[in-house]
Amino acid sequence: MAAGGHGERSAPGEHAGGGERAGSGEWAGGGERAGSGEWAGTGRIAAGLRTYGLIAAMWTRSTMAYRASFALSTLTSFAATFFDFVAIMLMFSRVRALGGYALPEVAFLYGLSAVSFGLADLAIGSMERLGRRVRDGTLDTLLVRPAPVLAQVAADRFSPRRIGRVLQGALVLGWALARLDVVWTAPKLLLMPVTVLSGFGIFCSVFVAGAAFQFVTQDASEVQNAFTYGGTTLLQYPPTVFGKELVRGVTFLLPLAFVNWLPACYVLGRPYPLDLPGWTAFASPLVAVACCALSGLAWRAGLHSYRSTGS
């Protein structure tokens, strides 16, 4: 069902930037030089957020100039992702449970994953275009502005219609919460917003790391899609339906399990995958912070290599 997600991305109007002429692409290779040059810190983060806000606001204004078109494309985005869930519902017309999970429980997993991913996609989904900018040399035009490049790339072509995916996920999540047979304790309630925010952070870092990888291999956006769209689709199903190796991979290598599986197991009172200890259900924020830090470093390394090789 990941195909639904891809279709939504290449909606008309997204691909108009083809006219920028390709640069000369003079050299490839690895000139090296020590000294990273720029300072990390709160000033930098504030500058990044300000830049992001300015560019995102510009694109939003431009989108809102054509309200009908915006409404239609948001609806399309909503509908395209909704079929994902319809497929799951159809599956449940044949079976009573999937890996031991009933429909409301699967919907709960689906909702958490879809909302986290939808928010990340809305915020910085356009980063997958970075490879193209590296290839045609237009990244240079971002480097001569007095603003962090990451923020400029993240906000480029900010597209509010992607809110459609978030709304759809929220709707499914709401339905699941209403149908779940769960005794809501304070920790469980608190875990909900924390989980969504952590999931948002983890998916954002996957987007950033994927973009950083595109400094090295400019055609890597499909690989990135496998981890982002592929990842969210994977998380829509219970961990019990997958092989142990795969679950291990998305727990320890690419820690997507912390987006919804582990917190959901706690809320639903289900056994943890891989017999993980109970506290892991609450580890999502830490994992998210670690992921963001790592992907930030990867981004810095990527940009640094670009600035020494110019390719």
Partner: protein
């Protein structure tokens, strides 16, 4: 490498923070080495170092307008990318307005303007005015200053009817004018132009040149421009630097370049009818085709005496003067000097 001026300068240096006026842009033995990997067979790779810029030294004073020319792949763009902080030099020392561009990229960005002839800095799918509004906020230009600069650019570059047009719908000449305006809204002290007239029609070229001339004269903006068009240099720059294979091979006035290259210009004359080659002191006929004849004469000299001489003695119908192109001038330079 020379010592840091901050370290050797006496107390008097406090009067002029940043760069001295004469050394607004300074390059001291700057190098840029790229490593090129090439596949030479199955799993076999050859590594080769390419020196795009090799021990390049020059300085540009504040308010100067300098042409930076050279054949394709000579290292022009690499130099501009190092001066703007896009690329980090592999060696040597480089300062623009007293700062190291690669280390202080974002701080320097407030003080420089950049126009890439072949890729726009404008937001491709949005109306032109959106790019300007964003620059206003991003560069934190005071409102009054922004309005003043925008009005001036709109008037001089004739952008009035284009402000609401999406950038992708602009013609090349319109887009270039739009790009130049975008680079100037924050009052940069130095403007880098990489091939600003490439692909433009005659009228657009004239507009761009006129604007740059006025900018330099009125605001004292330092301008460094790369170009393939010798007329850009002729009409704008009192100084020209020639780079080839990453090295500076000439630095001086344009006329001097012609002399150094022993360059020749060509006078094309159309006579009333077919005639034997004309005889003129200071020129020689290199080609005859029906009533049209081509005369070569030294590029450093004026064409006027030749024209007067011919008009007096021959039935002259029409004439034109052709400039040698940059590749030709540089090729001659090497031939004349006997270097590689």
């Amino acid at each position: 490498m020379t010592g840091e001026p901050e370290a050797v300068a006496g107390p008097g240096a406090l009067a002029a923070p940043g760069a001295p006026e004469a050394d607004f842009i300074v390059l001291d033995r700057v190098e840029k080495v790229f490593e090129v990997r090439r596949k030479t067979g199955f799993l076999k790779r050859e590594r080769r170092e390419v020196r795009a810029v090799d021990a390049l030294s020059f300085s540009v004073a504040r308010g100067e307008m300098v042409g930076y020319i050279g054949p394709n792949g000579a290292g022009k763009s690499t130099t501009i990318k190092m001066l703007t902080g896009i690329l980090t030099p592999s060696g040597g020392r480089l300062r623009v307005a007293g700062t190291d561009p690669a280390r202080e990229r974002r701080r320097l960005a407030h003080r420089i303007g950049v126009v890439f002839g072949q890729r726009t800095t404008l937001w491709w799918d949005l109306p032109l005015i959106d790019s300007y509004r964003l620059a206003h906020r991003m560069y934190r230009v005071p409102d009054a200053r922004y309005r003043e600069n925008l009005e001036r650019c709109v008037e001089l570059l004739e952008l009035g009817d284009l402000l609401d047009v999406p950038v992708r719908q602009l013609s090349l000449g319109q887009r270039m004018r739009g790009d130049i305006a975008a680079a100037l809204l924050h009052d940069p002290e130095v403007l880098y132009l990489d091939e600003p007239t490439i692909g433009l029609d005659v009228i657009s070229k004239a507009k761009v040149r006129g604007f740059l001339k006025e900018l330099n004269a009125e605001r004292g903006t330092t301008v460094l421009l790369t170009t393939h068009d010798l007329q850009d240099i002729e009409q704008l720059c009192s100084r020209v630097m020639v780079i080839d294979h990453g090295r500076l091979v000439y630095d001086g006035a344009l006329t001097g370049l012609h002399e150094a290259a022993e360059g020749e210009r060509t006078l094309v004359v159309d006579l009333e009818r077919e005639l034997p080659p004309v005889e003129v002191p200071g020129g020689r006929v290199v080609r005859v085709e029906g009533p049209r004849q081509w005369l070569a004469f030294p590029a450093g000299r004026s064409a006027a005496p030749l024209v007067a001489h011919i008009a007096e003695r021959y039935p002259l119908v029409d004439l034109s003067v052709r400039e040698p192109d940059i590749e030709e001038v540089i090729a001659r330079m090497y031939a004349g000097r006997g270097v590689s």
